[in-house]
């Protein structure tokens, strides 16, 4: 067995391809392409796809902090998404508080929900944890449905579309695309920072071996709680942005197993526990699901889901480490390992 060189031991030169804890040219190039697409003035329907890819990229990254880095696979993240969406919307429509502030309040409440979930499920691992997250989101959804004096119940809430910067409602889709891209870049930067931090290492340790982490002085419950709270807060912000774009929400629309699965799926396809993975996953899956839905949704109801699922199975079979894993393998070929 030969010794390997540790990439992060030679931090002077910027890497070409994604490396843990560091920014690479690949990511800079992606960002430039994304910026160009925002200002390119493409057709409105394509702008829809673009900004949803950004939004879901950020949401996938937020999910990945819990699911990929801390090993807390959650199928309940739409609860945090819904909490964020409702918090900013209720604050702006009822109390006239600008969403620019409401978003942060929503993030805080979502973080508290995340911490509560982590503490409730403190002793649960693996499939038991996953099932309890699913149940948790259902509880939140049913709660939102029944607390109609606050949430409007099944009728939902609408944000009156009067475009203004202070109301975070825009007439142009390019403005929304820029907003969503900013969200994506922010969550990406947080993820990169996490990868290079002590806290990030603690999460890796808790994920890989909790007993060993405890023996090294790492408090696993604290780590899991913090990871889930951070992940939930960032997901809540995504929920607020979603509400500001669609200008309507009802409990079953923003809190659903389908949405939760989507958050988990994008990082799984793109590459769990990597920063670039969820972004690649969203750029592949979000346009695909939107296109399939618009082309097949009306002619053969449900057919787009069949094709979509088939594609997923193929990815899982041939790229178990996701797109990021495949990219890593490809770019490492010929390099000394």
């Amino acid at each position: 067995m030969s010794a390997e060189t540790i990439p992060s031991l030679s931090p002077r030169r910027m890497a070409w391809f994604p490396t843990r804890g560091r920014i690479s040219w690949f990511e800079i190039a992606l960002l430039l392409i994304a910026c160009a697409l925002v200002v390119s003035g493409m057709a409105s329907s394509l702008q829809d796809v673009l900004l949803l890819s950004f939004l879901f990229g950020g949401l996938a990254l937020a999910w990945n902090i819990a699911g990929g880095y801390a090993g807390l696979i959650s199928f309940g993240h739409s609860a945090f998404f819904g909490v964020g969406a409702y918090a900013s919307t209720i604050l702006s429509t009822r109390y006239g508080i600008t969403p620019w502030i409401g978003i942060w309040i929503g993030a805080l409440i979502a973080a508290m929900f995340g911490a509560v979930l982590a503490l409730i499920c403190a002793r649960l691992r693996g499939p038991f944890f996953i099932l309890s997250t699913l149940a948790f989101a259902e509880v939140v959804r049913i709660g939102a449905l029944n607390w109609s004096s606050l949430t409007g119940g099944a009728e939902g809430l609408s944000i009156m579309p009067a475009p203004s910067l202070i109301g975070m409602v825009f007439a142009s889709k390019a403005a929304y695309a820029a907003l969503m891209l900013f969200y994506l870049v922010a969550v990406f930067a947080i993820t990169k920072g996490l990868e290079a931090s002590r806290f990030g290492y603690y999460l890796f340790a808790i994920r890989d071996n909790e007993d060993a982490a405890g023996a090294a002085g790492v408090n696993p419950l604290l780590g899991r709680t913090a990871a889930l709270a951070l992940s939930a807060a960032l997901t809540g912000i995504g929920g607020s942005l979603f509400a500001q774009y669609f200008l309507y929400l009802d409990p079953t629309y923003v809190i659903s197993p389908e949405l939760s699965f989507q958050f988990a799926l994008l990082p799984a396809v793109g590459g769990l526990g990597t920063a670039i993975g969820p972004v690649l996953g969203s750029f592949l899956i979000t346009p695909l699901s939107e296109l399939l839905r618009s082309y097949l949704g009306s002619s053969a109801v449900g057919l787009h889901l069949v094709i979509y699922s088939f594609g997923l199975i193929v990815v899982m079979l041939y790229f178990p480490a996701g797109l990021a894993g495949a990219l890593d393998k490809l770019t490492r070929r010929g390099r000394p390992r």
Binding site: A3, L9, Y202, N209, G214, A215
Partner: protein, 242 residues
């Protein structure tokens, strides 16, 4: 001189089984205490009690004069008790040096500082050539050394070694024995559980022998080799051939 670790009348039962039965012993600073006994004697349970993996049903455990029984393992780690795992528990998705850095974070809060301490510790146990390898690629012998490196990178006052020789080649056993024997001189007190008896008999300053959850003997290795209870526990009753 006051004891670094005091185990006072500690018992632990699992349902109807009494795994540790009223065990008491002390470890002085700078000692290398061997803890031996046949399979199922309760050595591992005793270890897990001191390391905080499980809490005693009754009794007291004092470290540096402070009661620590019932503490969580991460709190016990923070006051200066490190341990290895009998079956190595590496962080499989991390590299070897990152495995050690996670222990080093206890003393070095910065990434760079932890990396330096981890590099020094890897060199200490002879793993410096494997720093960048994924932990999942190591052989059993190397994983055992990684366990030792992780424990030592915490700069502990007391380290608990749980069968670090099992699965090693005779040459590796020799090197490891020498290494462990040198730890007390560096200010690290050692409690060592081992099945490879010749290694531990050579190095331990004192030994505690347990069988069926009870301490049956205590003394220097030479004393114990002739102790009738110890011989009985390991070899069975003397047969009367007359």
């Amino acid at each position: 001189m006051s004891a670094l670790l005091e185990v006072r009348h500690v018992s632990r039962s699992f349902r109807t089984t009494l795994a540790v039965d009223d065990a008491s012993f002390e470890v002085q600073p700078g000692e290398l205490l061997g803890l031996i006994g046949p399979n199922g004697a309760g050595k591992s349970t005793l270890f897990n009690l001191v390391a905080g993996v499980i809490a005693p049903s009754s009794g007291q455990i004092l470290f540096d004069g402070k009661p620590i029984q019932g503490w969580k393992s991460h709190d016990i780690a923070r006051v200066g008790v490190a341990r290895t795992f009998q079956i190595p528990k590496p962080y499989r998705q991390l590299s070897v040096i990152e495995n050690v850095m996670l222990s080093a974070f206890l003393r070095e809060k910065s990434i760079a500082g932890a990396r330096r301490l981890a590099e020094a510790t890897l060199a200490d146990v002879g793993l410096d050539a494997y720093g960048g390898s994924p932990a999942s690629s190591l052989t059993v012998g190397l994983l055992k050394r990684l366990e030792v490196a992780r424990a030592l990178a915490m700069r502990p006052k007391l380290v608990l070694f749980d069968e670090i020789m099992a699965g090693l080649t005779p040459t590796e056993v020799g090197a490891m024995t020498k290494f462990v024997a040198g730890l007390p001189a560096r200010g690290i007190t050692v409690i060592w559980v081992e099945h490879v008896l010749y290694a531990i008999m050579k190095t331990a300053t004192r030994m505690v022998v347990v069988n069926r959850g009870k301490k049956i003997a205590e003394g220097t290795p030479t004393e114990l080799a002739r102790h009738p209870e110890v011989v009985k526990a390991y070899l069975g009753e003397e047969m009367d051939l007359a």
